[in-house]
Structures are given as structure tokens and as C-alpha cells.
């Protein structure tokens, strides 16, 4: 039991410190690496409380895909220059007040959520679903999501689909003059389309690419 506690505190310490380092570190790429560390330690915490499915999904989705895209974008930016503009243009900059406002609101929301038991004593009983310990948590999650709440699940899928289409529409631009490869065109070409025999008159030449 004590080993369990020690491991728990190690992981949560790593999670908190790396979460702080995400915001503190000067280099944006380092921030993303700390974010990845944070995700990994949180998924370890998930695994420790027995939610191995959530932990693995956290690794696959956030670390394996989302953070890669973050890193992808951040590495392409000229980070040092942007960071300076962000903080040094004091007076004109409106980023910091807005950021403060948002973070204060989130902070109070978190306090309300954590302090919920104070206002409603039976909160914990009302939010906790009875867990069937015979099933693995993959199975019980599956039965909750795909059987009990299938309509809500489908609805959230639709929302995601709309968001995806929106993102594609926003970033899509058709460039003219791009030569695309068409396999069918290539395969269906034969000698007649590709080769033309021309009798060239002496000292006249022939115009190609006409």
C-alpha cells in the first residue's frame, strides 16, 4: 500500500510540476514537451486507479495524435520572435487582461466543482454510477456509452463531424495551375495519344507544345 502511495505522489508531482512548466518555460517547444510529460503522468494516474482503458486512450489520443500536431505547428513558427512580441508590447497588448479574466473564471469554476459537496451533501452519491466489478472497465465503458447513452454518443459524433467539416472548409483553398497525377489517365494512355510522328521540313523545324 505504501509503495502505491509513493508512486501516486511521484506521478502527481510530475504532473503538477510539468503543468507549471508548460506555462513558465521560455521556449514554446519545451512547453509542448512538458505538456506531453503531463499527459503521460496523468495517464499513469488513470492506470493507477484502475481505469486502464482511459489511461491508454489518453496516451493514444492526446500524446500520440494531438500533441504531435501541436508540436508540428509550434516547430514551424518562429517562436522566439513571437514570444517577445507577446510580452514586450506593454500598454497596447490586450492579451494579458483577457487571459487573466478567463483564468480567474476557470479558477472559480473549479472551486465550485471541488466544493460542490459543501452545498449539496449527497452530491457524491448522486454522481457516482454503481460500478459492476465483474466486468473489465473497457466492457463497462462500452455498455454505458454504446448501450445506455447511444443517442447522446451519436449526437456528439455528429457535432465532431460538423466541426471537422468546418475546419476543412475554413482551411481549404483551391490552387489553380497544380498538375495532379491521375492514375487512370496514365494507365489509359496509349501509343496514339502519346506519340505523334511529324515529317520535319528541312531548315524549318517544328513547333512542339502547341
Amino acid at each position: 500500500m505504501i509503495a502505491h502511495a509513493i508512486v501516486f505522489y511521484i506521478f502527481s508531482l510530475i504532473a503538477i510540476v510539468s503543468a507549471i512548466m508548460v506555462t513558465v518555460s521560455k521556449n514554446t517547444v519545451n512547453s509542448v514537451f512538458f505538456l506531453i510529460l503531463d499527459f503521460i503522468s496523468i495517464s499513469c494516474l488513470f492506470i493507477m486507479i484502475g481505469a486502464e482503458f482511459l489511461g491508454m486512450i489518453m496516451l493514444i489520443v492526446y500524446v500520440g495524435a494531438v500533441a504531435v500536431l501541436f508540436l508540428f505547428v509550434v516547430m514551424m513558427l518562429n517562436v522566439a520572435q513571437q514570444k517577445n512580441e507577446w510580452f514586450n508590447s506593454s500598454g497596447r497588448s490586450s492579451h494579458i487582461p483577457v487571459g487573466l479574466l478567463v483564468s480567474i473564471i476557470i479558477f472559480f469554476e473549479l472551486i465550485i466543482v471541488i466544493g460542490g459537496w459543501k452545498y449539496k451533501p449527497d452530491l457524491l452519491d448522486s454522481i457516482a454510477i454503481e460500478i459492476n466489478t465483474d466486468l473489465t472497465n473497457t466492457q463497462s465503458l462500452g455498455s454505458v456509452i454504446y448501450t445506455d447513452y447511444i443517442h447522446l454518443f451519436q449526437l456528439s459524433g455528429m457535432v465532431l463531424l460538423v466541426a471537422m467539416i468546418g475546419a476543412i472548409v475554413l482551411t481549404f483553398r483551391q490552387r489553380s495551375g497544380v498538375k495532379r497525377q491521375s492514375y487512370f489517365k496514365q494507365i489509359s494512355r496509349d501509343r496514339k495519344d502519346g506519340i505523334e510522328l511529324v515529317d520535319v521540313e528541312n531548315n524549318k523545324g517544328v513547333k512542339i507544345d502547341a
Binding site: I36, L59, G64
Partner: protein
């Protein structure tokens, strides 16, 4: 006292798995070069030791004694971390591979997800190496490989869903045992082909070795690496290839099971069967390296997103409908 005993027992078991894996990675590099040479009618490495078996060890010794050069303008911490990440991720995944019904280091409930997660983390070694080198070719190689590996992970994920539909469990041993009567390579043959090609792309093997396309990018993300750090990248890559072969043989070729449960076959111990299957897949990998020309990058992306992903999604629907119609769905 007993905790200490369990601790040492675990260490012993880990070493018992890790050292054979490392040795077989060295041997597999030799095998790769021999197969490659065989296709091209060369001899390949045949000088060091019997049949040149110790060639890789000699190479590794050479790498160890070479100087490690760290570029002055690189991000040093991440530069050094990158090969370590690659190597570590390639090795920790072996913890869940079942070699027989009892011989498995960690028989966890979500084994296949663990494998998938670790293989999707593998891209970080490459991105970190490419970015931290602070040089153009490695960076381009890293960007290419990030896009490539993320794309092909998606189709591998969908293929895994196909297999899981037939099994009804995420446990690797359950996946193997579900193939007792029929290996999944037979009903899911198209998925096996797509898995194999995606595995080539996921491990940056030819014909999808664009992250290190030597004609365009010198050596891609590993251009700036030298000595032992390069060797770690190299060994990590081969350990990953072996892992993908193991994953393929567990998902489709029945893992440790013998092809037929009859006398001459079932006296061969289970781990041998798994190793034979891994070797079979690896020889296919090596043959493909020798005979197929490199893809162009846009063709690679097109193949991943426009052909493999829709096809494997349709196959999920087909598999699910088939299992539903004939009432073969596991778990009810």
C-alpha cells in the same frame, strides 16, 4: 523480505526478456542485410564470424568507440533525449507480448491498446531528433515522418478494431486464443495486407522510408547523429520493426499457436512458433526493401488517407454485419 524477492524476480524476468530481444535485434540486422544481398545476387556481410553473424556486433563496437558529435547550435537536452526515447519505446512494448500461454511479462487487460499507444509514441524520438538538430534536412525529415506515422496509425487503429470485433477482448492472450480454430489471416486477409503495408510505413521501412530518403534528405532526422546515438536510433528502429512483426503475428497469424494441432507440430514449444512467425514477417519486410522502389510523398499520403482508411472502415462495417448476421459476435 518477500517484497524484495518479488522485486528481484521481476528484474530477472525483465532481463530474461530484454537480453534475447536485444540479441535478436542484432541478428535481425544481419538477416536484413543478407536477404537484401541475396535478392541482389551479392554475398552480404559474410566475414565476421560464421556466415558473418557477428557483423552487427562489430558495427556496434565501432559505433561505441566513435566520437559523439553534438552540434553547437542544437538543443542539447532534446538532442540527447531523442535516441533514448526511440530505444526505450521500442523496448518497453515487448513487456506485453505473449510468447506462450504462461510466458508473458505483463498480461494486462488492454494489451493491444498498450502496444498501439507505445507505437504511436514512437514518432516523438524522430520529431525530437529532427527538431533538436537545428538543421534543415533533419527538420524536413522529422516533419515528414510525423505526418506519415500519424496517418498510418489511423489505419492501423481501424485494422485493430476489425480484429477486436472478432475477439471481444483487448487482452493479447485472448486475441491469440480466439484464433485456435481459424487464424484471422484467413477471414481478414485484406486487413492483413493493409496492416503489413501500414506497418512498413509506421516503421519507416522502404518503400516508405521518406523520413530518411537519402537522395533528398541526406539521412533525414538522423543526419546530425553520430557514434552511439546513431546506433541507438538504428537499433530502436529495428526493435520497432520486430515489434510490428510480433504484433502482426499475434493479430493475424495466431501468435504462439501451431498451424495444426497435430503430432509433429504441437511438440514444438509455443515461443518457437511465435519466433518463426515473426521471422517470416520480417523476411517479407526485408524482401520488400530489396524489390520495391520508394514512394513519392504525395502518393504515400494518398495511399494512407484515401485508400487504406476508407477501405478498412468499410471492412469494419462488413465484419460487424457478418458477425451480427450469423450471430458470431463474441461475449454474448
Amino acid at each position: 523480505m518477500s517484497e524484495l524477492f518479488i522485486f528481484f524476480e521481476q528484474i530477472y524476468r525483465i532481463l530474461f526478456l530484454l537480453i534475447p530481444v536485444l540479441v535478436s535485434v542484432a541478428m535481425i540486422v544481419w538477416l536484413d542485410r543478407r536477404v537484401w544481398a541475396f535478392v541482389q545476387k551479392r554475398k552480404g556481410p559474410n566475414v565476421v564470424g560464421p556466415f558473418g553473424l557477428f557483423q552487427t556486433l562489430a558495427d556496434a563496437l565501432k559505433y561505441i568507440f566513435k566520437e559523439i558529435i553534438i552540434p553547437a547550435s542544437s538543443n542539447k537536452v532534446i538532442f540527447i533525449l531523442a535516441p533514448i526515447v526511440t530505444m526505450t519505446l521500442a523496448l518497453i512494448a515487448w513487456a506485453v507480448i505473449p510468447f506462450s500461454e504462461t510466458f508473458v511479462l505483463a498480461n494486462i487487460n488492454v494489451g493491444i491498446l498498450y502496444l498501439f499507444a507505445v507505437s504511436s509514441l514512437g514518432v516523438y524520438g524522430i520529431i525530437m531528433g529532427g527538431w533538436a538538430s537545428n538543421s534543415k534536412y533533419p527538420f524536413l525529415g522529422a516533419i515528414r515522418s510525423a505526418a506519415q506515422m500519424v496517418s498510418y496509425e489511423v489505419s492501423i487503429g481501424v485494422i485493430i478494431i476489425n480484429v477486436l470485433l472478432c475477439v471481444g477482448s483487448l487482452n493479447l492472450s485472448d486475441i491469440v486464443l480466439a484464433q485456435k480454430d481459424l487464424w484471422f489471416v484467413i477471414p481478414l486477409f485484406p486487413m492483413f495486407i493493409i496492416f503489413f503495408i501500414s506497418a512498413l510505413a509506421e516503421t519507416n521501412r522502404p518503400p516508405f522510408d521518406l523520413p530518411e530518403a537519402e537522395a533528398e534528405l541526406v539521412a533525414g532526422y538522423q543526419t546530425e547523429y553520430s557514434g552511439m546515438m546513431y546506433a541507438m536510433f538504428w537499433l530502436g528502429e529495428y526493435a520497432n520493426i520486430l515489434l510490428m512483426c510480433a504484433m502482426g503475428s499475434i493479430l493475424f497469424l495466431g501468435g504462439w499457436l501451431s498451424p495444426i494441432d497435430l503430432f509433429p507440430f504441437n511438440i514444438i514449444p509455443a515461443p518457437i512458433w511465435l519466433i518463426l512467425k515473426i521471422l517470416f514477417l520480417f523476411i517479407l519486410f526485408a524482401l520488400i526493401k530489396a524489390i520495391v522502389p520508394r514512394y513519392r510523398y504525395d502518393q504515400l499520403m494518398k495511399l494512407g488517407w484515401k485508400i487504406f482508411l476508407p477501405f478498412s472502415l468499410i471492412y469494419v462495417v462488413l465484419t460487424a454485419s457478418f458477425l451480427m448476421y450469423f450471430d458470431l459476435l463474441p461475449g454474448n
